[in-house]
């Protein structure tokens, strides 16, 4: 398993380094530029975390993109590994990339803040709040867990298209429902704040548990799909 994971990083380390460099530059330049003007939690920090989410998700597609580009799946599938191992390796590599991506975003953020003219206390509290970072990470992990079976079933291009469409329609439906029924939006906000104000020693493990469960289901579905797939 470890050999499989190392294989991707070893063979594509230049692309990985380039990708991490881009994430680092995105975070540092965004923070440096944003902190020059008055910076607020809403919307500046929200936009920043949106940037972290989107760029990290794209970065985790790197190995799949390279595999599709060079069409190497047949060669690697002929190696002495089972299909189950192949799928699990994809998940491990993806989540390692995600952790690396978040790490470089965080370092980039420090550099951006260091070279800017200072940071507001409220913003600082949120930027350095480990709970915020953890929740964002868990959110991205869940997004990935949702997407991975589609990639195994349909390949990268078609998978992205399907997930993109699903997310786009969900987003439109969400906005439409929230705008049409403001009482639902208010209730949702109240629910979010209630959850956040709960004891973090309870909510964080629950969030981690739900994400891990989601990830496990996603892995099993992907294994099931990939085991019967013609390459």
């Amino acid at each position: 398993m470890l050999r499989l994971v190392i294989k991707d990083f070893r063979a594509n380390w230049k692309y990985v380094a380039l990708g991490l460099g881009v994430l680092f530059a995105l975070s540092s330049s965004f923070m440096y530029t944003a902190l020059k003007a008055p910076f607020s939690v809403d919307p500046d920090l929200l936009i920043y975390f949106l940037l972290v989410i989107v760029s990290s998700v794209v970065f985790t597609l790197l190995f799949l993109m390279i595999e599709q580009l060079y069409n190497t799946n047949i060669i690697f599938a002929s190696l002495p590994i089972s299909r189950r191992q192949f799928v699990v390796q994809r998940y491990v590599a993806t989540y390692l990339q995600l952790l690396l991506g978040f790490g470089f975003h965080f370092i980039g953020l420090q550099i951006g803040i260091y070279f800017s003219e200072g940071i507001d206390q409220v913003v600082e509290d949120q930027v350095y709040n480990p709970r915020v970072w953890l929740l964002v990470l868990l959110f991205v992990m869940s997004v990935k867990a949702f997407s991975m079976p589609f990639y195994f079933k349909h390949g990268l291009r078609k998978g992205i298209l399907i997930i993109g469409l699903v997310q786009c329609f969900s987003c439109i439906a969400f906005v439409y429902i929230m705008m049409s029924y403001t009482q639902i939006w208010d209730a949702l906000q109240r629910l979010i704040f209630t959850v956040i104000s709960f004891n973090s020693q309870v909510t964080i493990p629950i969030c981690i548990g739900v994400t891990v469960l989601f990830l496990w289901i996603s892995t099993q579905v992907s294994i099931l799909i990939y085991k019967s797939k013609d390459l």
């Binding site: 050999r3 190392i6 294989k7 070893r10 063979a11 594509n12 230049k14 390279i66 060079y70 069409n71 190497t72 047949i74 060669i75 599938a77 002929s78 190696l79 002495p80 590994i81 089972s82 299909r83 019967s228 797939k229 013609d230 390459l231």
Partner: protein, 312 residues
């Protein structure tokens, strides 16, 4: 199991009974294509040529052996083991060469070797470097600048550096120039002197297989036409040439297919004795090449399809 006629004099293989590959009743369908109940086996220590026109099912069989595509029914045993239940163990002993060597183009051959080698317990760097030297491959150049011949040679080097006992190759010589093809065929001939190794080699370049294969398995339109030793194939099939006046609906039946022109007819028979009884010395008998066998068998299939279409 097929009883081979031994024609390599270097060692005695008659006593061997183990099969490297056993395929029984293998079926697979996708779209219009059907691989239909194909069965054959390859004894240990031999080269089997898998022939057939493009789209006949050669690559499908190879992909099923490698578990790249799923079989719908049938059994595949490699080294006497089920290829799915013992996938990892089986693949450790297989060297696989695909028709298009797809590698990470941004790596050099050495870097690619470093990526692949850890997967094989038996990987042997000495063998790898020997083969690289023999094929005069550049170790440090990026794979993207390799010619087709170099890429195929690299693929073969990678496939052979872990002491594989069974080498599976899908069209390894197609797209290669005659010089490289000859070089590779000589190499395969040398390789098979090790009686523990077996080679399954698909190709539509039949002359390559005539040179090196011990067994020929012919697949046409997803169906097994025959799987025999090369000698048996050449003994059973013959090309018959004669004047058109000898042909009538009865005499035509003794041929797999017949092609006539203003100068006479040429047909393929798979029962030379029966044909001799009909025509005697009035016709000329020539040795049929694998290409002739493929051509006429395919002609028969086309004719059958046309007849069926006309009927309805």
């Amino acid at each position: 199991m097929i009883k081979p006629k031994i024609h390599r004099q270097s060692y005695n293989k008659e006593c061997m009974s183990t099969n490297t590959l056993e395929i029984s009743n293998l079926s697979k369908s996708y779209g219009d294509f059907h691989l239909d109940n194909v069965s054959f086996s390859l004894p240990k220590g031999y080269i089997m040529g898998l022939i057939g026109p493009n789209g006949s099912g050669k690559t499908t069989i190879i992909k099923i052996i490698m578990n790249l595509i799923m079989k719908q029914s049938g059994d595949v045993k490699v080294f006497g083991m089920d290829h799915l239940a013992n996938e990892v163990e089986v693949k450790k002993r297989i060297g696989f060469v695909y028709d298009t060597p797809n590698y990470y183009d941004h790596l050099s051959l050495k870097q690619f070797k470093n990526t692949i080698a850890p997967f094989y317990d038996q990987w042997d760097d000495a063998v790898f470097y020997d083969l690289v030297k023999r094929f005069k491959l550049p170790l440090e150049k990026k794979i993207k600048v390799f010619s087709k011949g170099m890429a195929m040679k690299s693929s073969i080097v990678i496939a052979l550096s872990h002491h594989a006992d069974f080498i599976v190759m899908d069209e390894p010589t197609s797209n290669l120039d005659p010089v490289v093809r000859r070089e590779l065929l000589d190499f395969f001939r040398e390789l098979i002197q090790d009686e523990n190794k077996s080679i399954l080699f698909s190709s539509h370049i039949t002359t390559d297989l005539e040179q090196i294969a011990d067994y020929i398995t012919y697949i046409n339109e997803g169906k097994l036409v025959f799987s025999k030793t090369k000698d048996e194939v050449f003994e059973s099939y013959s090309l018959v040439k004669g004047g058109n006046e000898l042909l009538d609906s009865d005499t035509k039946k003794s041929f797999v297919a017949v092609k006539s022109s203003a100068y006479g007819f040429e047909g393929l028979t798979k029962n030379v004795e029966a044909t001799r009884k009909i025509f005697g010395a009035a016709v000329v008998y020539d040795k049929a090449s694998l290409e002739d066998i493929m051509f006429y068998t395919n002609l028969e299939t086309v004719k059958t399809v046309e007849d069926a279409t006309t009927r309805y």
